[in-house]
Symmetry: C2
Subunit: 405 residues, 2 copies
């Protein structure tokens, strides 16, 4: 049965405003002609939409920042002081935070180390409020605060925002939004909408919108760390799956007679390509070394390290080939420590992929993450802009109470 919403004439203006603003947010400055070409709306419609967005303070027109041959043409761009979001990435060993303006520019940044292991929710709340205070200090006066996005290394229920399982934080069925929202309101007088996302899903969103997948229609982002996570964006939508477990690719069985996994199964992909597997293959362990050290040793000619990484490369290739056979995305971004080992053993990885799917040539491209501050936090910022980019004028009105000062 059909499950889409109908479109009526009332929706069109809102959809078109959202469309123009999203192009500007993702693409930066554009001439009116470029907007006409991209949106496929006619010139007068684009003019009226730009005027409405400008009246709301969201966009401005001025000379372009490009070359200066001849008369500089006018461009439309997001007003960088109009609206901003706060984004966080809760990692195993630290909190990374940033404030981003509409258009995706970094306004301020913060980083706090934290001890490995469980993270008491109350402590997480107070740390994030503290970091937010610091981030807000770097936001221009009058800029409207339209959202908060937080990347969580775990399974998030897409509908409720509940953190179902985040083993590295020690969180199970935790409604983190319900905890942090009152604290934000107390600290800042009000709280914008707070969105949570799985870290690999957010990495995939960021690479799709602004990174290695910006010309693709489907992107998989693999986050290699202690475990291996996966995020999958298809035509702009994250595939979360029926129960929120899509992308739990680290627990794909690739070696039924292999190592026992933390999850209780045997031969999961992450038992073959996770951090401990890499260290073990290189003849070392977490108490003695790290993945970057193994990579440096291999590049300096250490034979045991290099052979270890080549063994890992075979398993990376098998898992990537399975991904290609199952969902065949345009781009697969190798994040986390997979990005570190790739430059050393990419030939072996690609040879194993070819060996695993001899019948099928593929257009899919392997790529390294391409966003300097990290794909995950950029994805957290993007979901924080969701409400504004869906209904720009109404959302700006709603957010006025949250103007930073």
């Amino acid at each position: 049965m059909i499950r889409t919403r109908p479109v009526n004439t009332d929706d069109i203006k809102r959809l078109n405003l959202a469309r123009v603003l999203r192009y500007l947010h993702e693409g930066g400055e554009l001439t009116r002609s470029e907007l006409v070409a991209h949106t496929r709306l006619n010139r007068s419609t684009v003019g009226a939409l730009v005027a409405d967005l400008a009246f709301a303070g969201l966009v401005e027109e001025g000379p372009g920042s490009g070359g200066t041959v001849g008369r500089p043409s006018l461009v439309v761009r997001p007003t960088p002081t109009s609206a901003f979001v706060v984004a966080f990435d809760l990692r195993v060993d630290r909190i990374v935070g940033a404030a981003y303006s509409l258009g995706g520019h970094v306004l301020s940044q913060v980083e706090r180390p934290r001890a490995d292991g469980p993270f008491a929710p109350a402590k997480a709340v107070s740390k994030l409020v503290e970091c937010t205070t610091e981030l807000l200090a770097g936001v221009p006066e009058g800029c409207a605060w339209v959202g908060v996005g937080i990347a969580i290394p775990g399974v998030i229920d897409a509908e409720t925002g509940l953190v179902r399982k985040a083993p590295n934080l020690g969180w199970i069925d935790l409604n983190f939004v319900e905890l942090i929202e009152p604290a934000m309101t107390e600290a800042f007088g009000a709280s914008p909408k707070i969105m949570l996302g799985n870290d690999a899903n957010l990495g995939a969103i960021a690479e799709y919108v602004r990174g290695a997948g910006s010309l693709a229609s489907s992107v998989v982002y693999l986050s290699g760390d202690v475990g291996v996570g996966g995020g999958f964006v298809l035509e702009g939508e994250v595939m979360t799956g029926s129960s929120g477990y899509a992308g739990e690719i680290g627990h794909m069985t690739v070696n039924p007679r292999g190592q026992a996994c933390n999850c209780g199964n045997r031969g999961c992909w992450e038992t073959e390509v996770g951090r401990d597997a890499i260290l073990r293959a290189a003849g070392t362990s977490i108490t003695e070394s790290t993945v970057p050290e193994v990579v440096r040793a291999a590049m300096a000619g250490d034979q045991e390290s290099l052979e270890g990484l080549q063994e890992i490369a075979d398993w990376v290739g098998i898992g990537v080939a399975n991904l290609l056979n199952m969902i065949d995305p345009d781009v697969i971004v190798l994040g986390g420590h997979l990005a570190e080992i790739y430059p050393v053993v990419y030939e072996r990885i690609e040879a194993r992929i070819t060996r695993s799917r001899p019948l099928f040539e593929t257009r899919a491209r392997l790529s390294l993450p391409s966003l300097p501050l990290g794909s995950t936090i950029v994805g957290a910022a993007e979901i924080a802009f969701t409400a504004l980019l869906r209904d720009p004028l109404n959302e700006m009105e709603r957010s006025l109470a949250l103007v930073a000062s």
Copy 2:
């Protein structure tokens, strides 16, 4: 970047007509109030749209076929004699064909055995034209022929309709549409649009629209035969992947030290759950037995057959668990011989799934195919209706030349 099309006022009427007709095609007879509720359009809009569709002959109003308590209420239904499609399923051992009316009723059926192995394209064309002649004889006079859909056991290029690889037919990079269209035109004076689809993808479409997945938003259909194929429908769209290879799940590596596969790799899923694996596990082979015979023997208490099927069940469970970990659909339909073995060993399959993903409870439901004539051919009929259901009035005008008599 955004890659959707804008919506302008000119599109709305066409979208709404399409929306109403699709509800009727998929849902059968509906009262105007039900149409209002389903489409979320207002009553007068629905009235005008129904009038336009009725004027074009596509729908009719009359007393409902339901209970007779009180005054029977008027319903709108697709006019069964208004439009039809011809659908084919090219199987390994036979051709199955049917003509379907708008609304999904079978008007006529045909079946022709064919020898296992390569199928010369010219022979396939003449067989299909011959079958079409037979099918058209069963179509009511005046009914407009709006499409042909053909299910192919192979990889189809979504954009061009090129058959890239269909090993069981012996077709490689074959433009079958270019071959059959002139033959159809010669035989019938004109040819409606001919659509090709991968058999597992079409199975997934059919189960999503009318079958086990009709209340779901994502459906995977697994076709177990000599090999194992997979089709994946998400929110009504088939996921074909970047190169058309999404769903090549039979070639997922699950056992790197396992059997050599026909594809040249080792330990592909289909080497563990394909037809030959089932027969081998049951201590027999293709020259001596068939999968249904093994299943019957196991049900009659033959120990070797039962143990063989239980071994296969473990591998089915591992592959299904990988599917759940990667894409986590609402429903997984076990088609082909997987449907035959499931009733005998479902407990073992489900136990293996639980063992493979102990951390993740899941809402996904395993199901048997639910469409009597076969999911695949119903899917072929559905894609044949694509053009009509996208732009009903214009498509009816275009198809008048093809009215069957």
